[in-house]
Amino acid sequence: MLPAMATTNDSWSEQLRRGGLELAILLAVAPGPRYGLEIIRHLQEFTDLVVTEGTIYPILGRLSRDGLLRAEWQAAAAHPRKYYTLTAAGGRRLKVMVDDWRAFASKIDRLMKAASKEAANESL
């Protein structure tokens, strides 16, 4: 029973992490151009969403193909780096995602408060 429960929790956390990662990446590049490692470091500073560093690059590639990010190689002092910038479509998408996230979080929060209140009333 316990291993099955752990697997279910892992799967749920994994899905939550995957769902949040796209939003987190768009938020990371919203202030200005950033390259891959900068994005990873920024996310690691605030979240634990990036488990395997390399797997962020395929997502950056998809977001670029979808027109949400613009990728551009720039010659840096040591070696070239690929910088990502939010496009206008990316900005619109980010706004929708932020609104969705806030609405969803507030609904779940209200649900949790109601459940706690009901549980407290039951125990009286």
Partner: protein
Amino acid sequence: MNLSDAGESRIRGYLFMLESSLRSFMKRELADDAVREVESHIRDRVREVEPMPNERDVLNRLLDDIGSPHRLARAYSAEMAVDEAVASGRIGSIARALLAVARTTAEGFAAALGLLLGYLMAFAFLIIAIMKPIFPDNVGVRWQNGEFRGAGWEVSIDPGTVVTHGWWLAFVSLIAGALLLRATHRGARRYLRRVSVRRQARAPLTTPDRAR
């Protein structure tokens, strides 16, 4: 920071494996770009850990953090599967894309299941047609004592069973298999194209009215 020859060789080996894995499903220029980006990441990470007391351990840890070349290639494959399948139309690419879509939504799972059934039925028909010249007595409509027993390819025929209309059945199976394969394949490409367009169309979404 200059790496030793052994360190450089370790990184080259990692990038070579990544490139080989990516080339199996990505266009050359896309694979090269992806490898270049991962190399840039590795070079930045190496610069971060100056001075490097034990180069081998540091490189191992660094490459572990990035993930194995195969894991990285799988992640690229999952992200690119749909676009690649739509562009190439190859059965292998379509199967990979359907698998990826099936894992993401209930609708994707149902569509992938339906399309998989279509492919299986098409191949079953084609196998019947192919088996006729190889096992001429085992393909056809089977009768026993004047009663219908089945039709298709049977590995072993029971004594007393009469097999008729073999070549006719093989011909019909060939036509049915080819048509079903074509229809399923076109359906799969059309569905994946819709998935791809829908994903891209999410970009300029305007906020719909939501119950708060």
